[in-house]
């Protein structure tokens, strides 16, 4: 009996021995181990970075749904250092810092110590305290196409873009700085000059069709929100949004502007017309300064509802770029007028515009407060207008003269400001939300007035009760 069990056991064992060698190894997806593949990916990026003896040009949009972008030139060295310059600000000297290619969530390029690139994530930036331009020091590697390296920020993978393109420079040390200085110059070209119109317009021409957008450029955030009137059952306003990065010969936008079946990305500056032009398949998109806005909003009708409130402009409340250089020149002209008349140095401390739509009895008036520099004494003056009239979405104010006293003496000296408000072609009013300036933010409603007689003059101020 024992023998039977033993033989049975031996047969079973033999059977297991035979079937246990079945080759059930699955097909291997990768020929290399994970560690090797990580090392290869890291080497791939590092070799690409080191391959370019004169470095890369990189346009970095940290978050193209809030901000524009910046141009960098970077040269990566084998000792773990990187030389860099950028057009972020006027400090364009090449700086050296450290970088690493390492594996995080994927292969990453990390700028490990501070250089130009960290200006984009500097949270100590006035106006953007706590966030800066929401940039990063850590970029994930997403691939290489013809030498163009695509990187993404793990926090802003959808709206952040950073592409490194071989610089094509012959001498990185000299040419890179010249390039970013050219970009900085282009950043100035998009801003209005003291004499240019504040009405910055984007015109798109395709065939015989022309579409005009109010450009709405935020120079601080390098961000544009062009608005266009769209015809349908009812007229409506459609808004587009994109960030702007400046290049040596113009600018590029991100995301691209898709309109009427065309996609516009790169614009070239035309110095003769002070405009930026993008041509795609015969269609053109042009950013320019125009005599009138693309369309006038109905904001001016809000003035009818304001009641007995005044519009205040006071330099002491801080500056806002919506107040134009042309307007600053008006105030400078008043100071000059006092000086040339022999009164010494006087400046406009503040002025207030009170608008009434029912009375011609000087219930609409401009109050100007002047300061005499010699002793700091303040002088008040009042200038009367007839009732305000709104026609074709424009405000018309007809000047009727000064009140008695100082105002009579001051009238010819402050005439540049009176001319602004009595614009024969009217004033355009725009609601600008709550008040915000370089010095403060208040919940008071803010707005701008622009003269159509001289569209280089625009003032930003707040409404008070």
């Amino acid at each position: 009996m024992k023998n039977i069990y033993l033989k049975f056991g031996l047969i079973c064992l033999l059977f297991f021995g035979l079937v246990s060698c079945n080759n059930d190894t699955t097909e291997s997806l990768f020929s290399d181990s994970p560690a090797d593949r990580i090392a290869q990916k890291n080497s791939e990026l590092l070799n690409l970075l080191l391959k370019e003896n004169n470095g890369f040009k990189g346009v970095y949009f940290p978050k193209n749904d809030e901000f524009g972008g910046f141009t960098f030139y970077m040269k990566f060295n084998a000792d773990g250092t990187v030389n860099m310059t950028s057009d972020f600000d006027a400090e364009t000297a090449i700086e050296t810092s450290s970088y690493e290619v390492r594996y995080g969530a994927t292969t990453e390029l990390v700028f490990t110590t501070r250089n130009h690139i960290q200006k984009v994530s500097n949270p100590d930036l006035p106006g953007l305290i706590g966030t800066g331009f929401k940039g990063t020091s850590v970029f994930q590697y997403f691939g290489n196409a013809n030498g163009v390296i695509t990187l993404k920020d793990v926090r802003n993978s959808e709206t952040g873009r950073f592409e490194l393109t071989p610089s094509g420079l012959a001498n990185f040390n000299t040419e890179s700085v010249q390039k970013v200085q050219s970009s900085l110059a282009q950043r100035q070209n998009i801003l209005p000059k003291p004499t240019s119109s504040v009405f910055q317009v984007l015109k798109i021409k395709k065939g015989n069709k022309e579409s005009n957008f109010n450009f709405n450029y935020d120079a601080f955030r390098l961000y544009a929100s062009p608005r266009v009137l769209v015809e349908g059952d009812v007229l409506s306003i459609k808004e587009f949004n994109f960030g702007i990065a400046f290049t040596g010969d113009g600018l590029m936008i991100s995301p691209s502007l898709e309109f009427d079946g065309e996609s516009y990305t790169n614009f070239t500056y035309n110095a003769a017309t002070s405009s930026y032009v993008s041509t795609v398949n015969g269609s053109t998109a042009t950013i320019l300064f125009d005599a009138e806005p693309a369309f006038i909003s109905e904001d001016v009708n809000e003035l009818l509802e304001l009641g007995p409130t005044g519009f205040l402009y006071q330099p002491g409340l801080g500056s806002n770029p919506l107040t134009s250089l042309g307007h600053d020149n008006v105030l400078k002209q008043i100071t000059t007028n006092f000086q040339t008349t022999g009164y010494g140095t006087w400046t406009v401390r503040q002025y207030q515009l009170i608008i009434d739509f029912e009375s011609d009895n000087c219930d609409t008036y401009l109050y100007i407060q002047l300061v005499r520099a010699a002793d700091g004494a303040r002088f008040n003056s009042f200038f009367c207008f007839e009732r305000g009239v709104i026609t074709n979405r424009k405000l018309f104010l007809k000047y009727s003269g000064p009140t008695a006293g100082n105002s009579v003496i001051f009238e010819p000296l402050v005439m540049p400001l009176l001319n602004f408000f009595k614009s024969s072609k009217g004033l355009i009013y725009t609601d600008e939300g709550s008040f915000s300036s370089s010095a403060a933010s208040y919940i008071n409603r803010a707005g701008t007035f622009t003269s159509l007689d001289n569209p280089s003059i625009r003032v930003y101020g707040l409404w008070f009760g």
Binding site: G80, V110, T113, Q118, S121, G130, K134
Partner: protein
């Protein structure tokens, strides 16, 4: 015959065990990258002065996981690192070593410092975070790019942070007397930032942050004592106009001194003097 069966059985088991070996699990070269990192002059200095003697690592090269990923921060300039590291060595490690013995910092210390170049702004709050201590193992110092080493008050800022966080670490090793929190708990508040330091002192707290809670109260006392010389600290206390508050601060001072003496055998006043001299030398 029976023996023969067992030999046959053993041979079969052996054959069974070795039959499927195709050599694929043989030991190959390690897949772990053991290449040494690129070390620059600063890295070598930090290894020589912190890692080797104290097993403390100073991280200054950016790793997004070292700080709060939701905050917008950036690494320091390389040139900012050595002066701050040197300040830690001279005004924190060496005085503690002198009064606590050569092994004091080696045994009780954060094992990592992370240096961050930028300010760390707190969202929805008018405050910034100067430093963070995590589980007694790591201290993060912010805004080191903005320190002015010709101004003693600027240098005192990171040192105060370290003294503050290090006191937390000491408390985590040996807790403070629970009666400390009973001295004047009535004005502890989460909105401490609405108070000035002067207002807090009139309430019996050495700083506004010290009026946030008991544990912060204690370590703020320590850090104020260790970033001011004794005459400076006494002047600060004597400037309090409310005599009751002044007495409260003095009572807290006595408890802090007693804690250091009884728990660590450290004369806090001696330590205070050593730190003050070292800090002054950093400016000179």
């Amino acid at each position: 015959m029976k023996k023969l069966k067992y030999i046959l059985l053993a041979s079969l088991v052996l054959a069974f065990a070795s039959a499927c070996d195709d050599g694929s699990d043989s030991v190959a070269e390690s897949q772990i990258d053991t290449n040494p990192p690129i070390l620059n002059e600063l890295d070598i200095y930090l290894r020589s002065n912190f890692v080797t003697p104290y097993n403390i690592e100073v991280l200054y090269k950016w790793d997004i996981n070292d700080t709060d990923i939701d905050r917008y921060l950036h690494p320091p300039f390389e040139s900012s690192v050595k002066p701050v590291a040197n300040a830690l060595q001279k005004a924190w490690i060496e005085p503690y070593t002198q009064v606590g013995g050569p092994n004091f910092i080696k045994k009780i210390a954060p094992r990592q410092f992370t240096f961050v170049g930028s300010f760390n702004y707190n969202p929805n709050s008018p405050t910034i975070t100067l430093g963070v201590a995590e589980a007694g193992a790591k201290i993060t110092l912010f805004n080191i790019d903005y320190l002015d080493f010709s101004n003693i008050n600027s240098i005192k800022q990171p040192l105060k942070t370290v003294q503050h966080e290090y006191a937390h670490i000491l408390n985590q090793n040996i807790p403070i007397d629970a009666t400390y929190g009973l001295i004047n708990p009535e004005n502890y508040t989460a909105q401490w930032f609405n108070r000035s330091d002067e207002e807090a002192r009139e309430l019996g707290y050495i700083t506004a942050y010290g009026s946030s809670q008991e544990s912060e109260d204690f370590v703020e006392m320590v850090s104020e004592m260790l970033t001011n010389s004794k005459p400076e600290f006494d002047a600060l206390v004597e400037s309090i106009s409310n005599p009751e508050s002044k007495a409260i601060i003095r009572m807290k001072e006595a408890m802090v001194v007693d804690y250091y003496k009884k728990k660590f055998n450290i004369d806090l006043y001696e330590l205070q003097e050593l730190v003050a001299i070292a800090t002054q030398k950093l400016v000179n």
